[in-house]
Amino acid sequence: MSTTERDSVTDLAALDAARVRLNSDEAVLRMSQTEAEEAEGYRAPTQEGLGERMIMNMGPQHPSTHGVLRLVLELDGETITRSKPVIGYLHTGMERTGEELTYLQGPTNVTRMDYASPLFTELAFSLATESLLGIEVPERAQWIRMLMCEVNRLSSHMLFMATNGMDLGAVSMMLYGWREREELLRFLEAVTGLRMNHNYIRPGGVAADLPDGWRDHLLRAIDPLPERLEEFDTLMTGQPIWQNRLQGVGAITTEECYSLGVTGPILRSTGAAWDLRRDMPYLRYEEVDFDVLVGSFGDSFDRYAIRLGEMRESIRIIRQILDRMPSGDYRIQDKKVTPPPRARIDESMEALIHHFKIFTEGFKVPEGETYAAVESPRGELGVYIVSDGSSKPYRMHVRAPSFVNLQSLPHLMKDSLIADTVAIISSVDPIMGEVDR
């Protein structure tokens, strides 16, 4: 972390100015659709050619609102004057459910939040639990976690490439993105048994060791990728229509990002090099070599380009992990936290008791509270846990990057066209499962 970027965080005057700007730009429609529609003439036609406004509802059933996001748009012709994201259509009470499940059952639950990159939520939850327990997972487990997360980052960004292409009308791009993602998901499936909702990273390590032949399998999946990314460049990055559609669309500044709490590729697109993998390292990210990519305009094109570049960085990280994967245990050998191997249960009464206790009552976690954050493909993903000393969290809260990033939508969409709305939603890349939890 260089000091210059730190300075911009502490430049309070600039932050205040951004906050004032965000509050006064009238980008947010602060009423419901019904109220807005009933308030006829709440904005009368003016002399300067500004006509009457129309309220249009976009979503929750709409092809490009990425699931069940709903936007209430106030339109002047095709230009958006104010807008309001409405969420909650996928609310399943996962945070509350998490307080009814033991720490061992926790990852099964949190993995369903960000379904495009489930391993990151599992990781954040496990890191938080481990910090409460005060345990350190074995070396190999840490590298496995890193490997799996980077593969997951690749598959998540591939999903972004696919949907971003589709939202802008480059329909073939959707299938190309899907094709690459499929190979990565096959690898994840070979390791974890599932294509999504893996429940693989658990407090104390990972669920199982990497299977035989994982190295070849992974290489088969990532070796063609650099070439395919070049194809993406040909199809999209250098495409004049693509550039025109994205450049200058949905621009945001660093200070506005800080004010709104926006992180991830959106923050980096503004030029702020903030990546938790480098700035607050967890696992073994200090030991691998990678670049944090930043943009300079903070627009949709930069966000697209950053994600494309991050895929290349992820491949770089994965190759380093492949070279350095240590041998050893894949989970901690602590009888209170890790269930004993199946064979031991037949031999040892003590092992049977531990097994029974772990799966019925769960392991007890000392009183305290903690916050663990990881850099998910969408930004800072944090899990905050308060423990009362029992085997279930007293309170669990997830700082979901999609949820926080979604706040920026009205500001990004101010004065843009409907076609840009789609590009902007896509470039914010929200996962509604994570937004609503």
Binding site: D25, E48, M54, M56, H62, P63, S64, G77, E78, T79, G165, M166, D167, L168, G169, A170, V171, S172, M173, L175, Y176, R179, L235, M236, Q239, I241, W242, N244, R245, Q247, G248, V249, A251, F297, D299, K414, D415, S416, L417, I418, A419, D420, T421, V422
Partner: protein
């Protein structure tokens, strides 16, 4: 004028005309069916998919199956809709699509002085349903009428997304018709006639308008034609990701099928018009094969081969290009295509006058191209100063000039 109708008109002549109408109608319907299949299959190939493969061999009957399915669906009319216009709109879209095809010469003997005339059942005739003297004007007129189909469909649906779609449709199709008309005018200048038969005839012997008009009108026509068809990358009217279905969001069953049919029929006819205007239609070398089989067979082979190239091109566009934004589409139309087509039209006219009155052609060409560049520079200057003025105004009123600067100024 069709030689069939120049003399007395008896039963045989009427029967031949009826036969041509029936064959053209059936061929177009089957052609559209195959076009839908071809497009789906080709796009699937380009996207590493398999595409339709269930109904019939290689999925050939998929379109028919879809059509039958849509036939049995319920025709819903939204409560807010204007019922009469809502029902009328699909026909306004479909009928012009059919009518355009009547003036396309699909075959014919254009070698020597034959002028495309072939002998059918002992009568001399042209291989097109009609050859009115206003041939190409009919094409332009019909594509204008088709705008009403889309516009009224969107407007009468009584829903917001179709409304936006129809607003886009109206401005898009009206603007691009200007560019389309100007590039056609260049062709007409060389042919000296509006009749499609004569246009093809003047191109016989490899004198294709493609190079006779200097490529530019063709490019303008192809781009404007794609926009006129509402096909990607200009499919803003029905942009699925933005407007759900655009003007046909509220349409179901057979009415939806009619829009769908009209769209693909337009693709086929637009390709046919391109082939007619720029690629010599059914004209082509005979290789001394005349007399081996009826006159019209070879012409049809040439016509179909050329048509196929453009059908492929349209599908290729769809698989490759992202969609333009509304304002970018307007910029492209008004600031590039229309001035370019107009300038080129004037150059071709100047050259034609120069050739006719035996001036020095080289000098005329140089002066004309210099004029084109000068005009282009002036236009650019005008649009830039206009933009600057708008920016200034936006700043003085304190509005965020987000859209004008594109955030990157």
């Amino acid at each position: 004028m069709d030689p069939l109708l120049s003399g007395d008109i008896g039963l045989a002549e009427v029967l031949i005309v009826v036969l041509k109408v029936v064959v053209a109608f059936a061929a177009l319907m089957v052609g559209v069916m195959l076009m839908v299949w071809f497009e789906r299959k080709l796009v699937a190939d380009m996207q590493n998919r398999i595409g339709p493969n269930r109904a019939g061999p290689f999925g050939l009957l998929q379109t028919l199956a879809d059509g039958i399915k849509l036939f049995f669906k319920e025709e819903l009319t939204p409560a807010e809709a204007d019922p009469v216009v809502y029902r009328l709109a699909p026909y306004l879209s479909l009928i012009p699509a059919f009518l355009v095809f009547t003036v396309v010469p699909v075959a014919g003997n254009f070698s020597g002085d034959n002028d495309g005339v072939v002998t059918l059942f002992g009568h001399e005739t042209l291989m097109q349903v009609a050859d009115p003297q206003i041939g190409i004007l009919l094409v332009l007129a019909m594509s204008s009428v088709a705008v009403y189909g889309i516009m009224l469909a969107g407007w009468s649906s009584g829903s917001k997304y179709p409304l936006l779609g129809s607003v886009r449709a109206t401005s898009q199709m009206v603007s691009y018709e200007a560019a389309l008309g100007l590039s056609v005018a260049t062709v007409l200048l060389l042919a000296g006639s509006l009749s499609t038969n004569l246009i093809v005839d003047t191109q016989a012997g490899g004198r294709w308008n493609l190079w006779m008009t200097g490529l530019v009108p063709f490019v303008v026509f192809l781009v404007a034609g794609t926009a006129e068809l509402n096909r990607p990358p200009f499919d803003l009217v029905e942009a699925e990701q933005e407007l759900v279905g655009g003007f046909h969001t509220e349409y179901t069953a057979l009415r939806f099928a009619m829009f769908f049919l009209a769209e693909f029929m337009n693709t086929v006819t637009m390709s046919a018009i391109i082939v007619t205007l720029f690629f010599g239609g059914p004209a082509g070398p005979t290789f001394g094969l005349t007399g081996w089989f009826p006159d019209y067979v070879l012409g049809f082979v040439y016509f179909f081969a050329k048509l196929f190239v453009f059908l492929f091109v349209f599908v290729w566009f769809r698989a490759t290009l992202p969609r333009l934004r509304y304002d970018q589409l307007m910029d492209l139309g008004w600031k590039l295509l229309i001035p370019l087509a107009l300038g080129w039209f004037l150059i071709v006219a100047a050259v034609k006058v120069a050739v006719d009155s035996s001036w020095n052609v080289a000098v005329v060409v140089v002066v004309a191209i210099a004029g084109l560049f000068l005009g282009g520079a002036l236009l650019r200057l005008a649009s830039r100063s206009g933009r600057a003025a708008r920016l200034e105004e936006a700043r003085s009123t304190g509005e965020t000039p987000n859209q004008l600067t594109g955030g990157r100024s």
